[in-house]
Amino acid sequence: MTRKEETMDRERFVALLDAYGADFRRWPAEARAAAAAFAAQNADVEALLAEARGLDAVLGLVRDQGAPSGELTARILSRIPRTQRPAFDRRALFALAACAVFGVVLGYGGGLLAPTPTEDDVYFSMAFEAPSAFEDEG
């Protein structure tokens, strides 16, 4: 959407200067270009602009107020409610699902690839199943 550029005459220029000061960046977006052009073509408004710049500079003396105290930030952060159910992260859900699928595939594929147990395997599994009762006695 394009903005409708404002037409500028002296009365409107002075009204906007009174309201927004000498920095055209604070002016309504649709009036900035017309204001700059008007000022360039009308040298007599320079005195008005200089006066407005003076007030802007004065207000600039109290522009920087410093950052809020760390104590305030900590106090506010400590009051963030944590009793509500946390929002479930969709990425975490996706990762969980992917892990589940991978696990199923791995388990199934592993089952297919694994050799069928031989008699030796069965023997060894029986052999290391539990300590022998004879060992306890020994």
Binding site: A19, P28, L55, A57, L59, P68, I80, P81, R85
Partner: protein, 190 residues
């Protein structure tokens, strides 16, 4: 209308502490700033900012995007809290409320002068009617667009421009000497 806070507010409302923290990091300085401009009192301004965020935590789960920008709503809450405090001050008629006490420690002359000037500017801002002060805080210091500022104050752009003009005119009269010094007159001072 695109609200840059929409996702964060939704997540914070669902209990996401990181989103809530991001909202604090993004908006706390502005909330404290506008409250300081309105109240001329750092401690009270921090109390207001804290209250704004407590309301954010309370309201975020019910936030409906598309009606107003979240930042606009926060500014409205902050300003209303400031108006309440200013009203209570008037009722108490405490002459010292909101008055910055000058630091009595010895300072280098330049620093002393800068502080004196800043105190004078703060005093002139504090003396403005509340709505004019709010308009100047939003447009001049927070550099909000005229449309956003008018929306926060619940007025038309024309009414906002009227508040700004009257406010600047009063400041110009109150601070003429400071402006004169700043713009070159100080060089002639002893």
């Amino acid at each position: 209308m695109i609200d840059p806070d929409e996702d964060l507010v939704r997540s914070a409302g669902a209990g996401d502490a990181r989103a809530a923290e991001a909202l604090v990091r993004r908006h706390l300085t502005k909330m404290v700033g506008v409250a300081r401009r309105m109240l001329n009192d750092g401690a009270e301004a921090e109390d207001v900012a804290q209250e704004v965020f407590l309301r954010v935590w309370r309201e975020a789960p019910r936030w409906k995007p598309g009606q107003a920008k979240f930042e606009t709503w926060m500014h409205r809450v902050a300003l209303n809290l400031c108006y309440d405090r200013l009203r209570r001050r008037r009722e108490k008629t405490d002459p010292d409320a909101g008055v910055m006490v000058a630091d009595s420690r010895p300072l280098a002359s330049d620093e002393w002068l800068a502080r004196q000037r800043a105190a004078k500017v703060q005093g002139a801002l504090a003396a403005l009617p509340e709505r004019q002060r709010a308009a100047i805080a939003l447009v001049h210091f927070d550099e909000m667009s005229n449309i956003a500022a008018a929306e926060i104050l619940g007025i038309s752009v024309e009414a906002l421009e009227s508040l700004l003009s009257r406010g600047r005119r009063a400041l110009k009269a109150a601070l003429a000497d400071v402006a004169h010094d700043l713009m070159g007159g100080a060089e002639r001072a002893p």
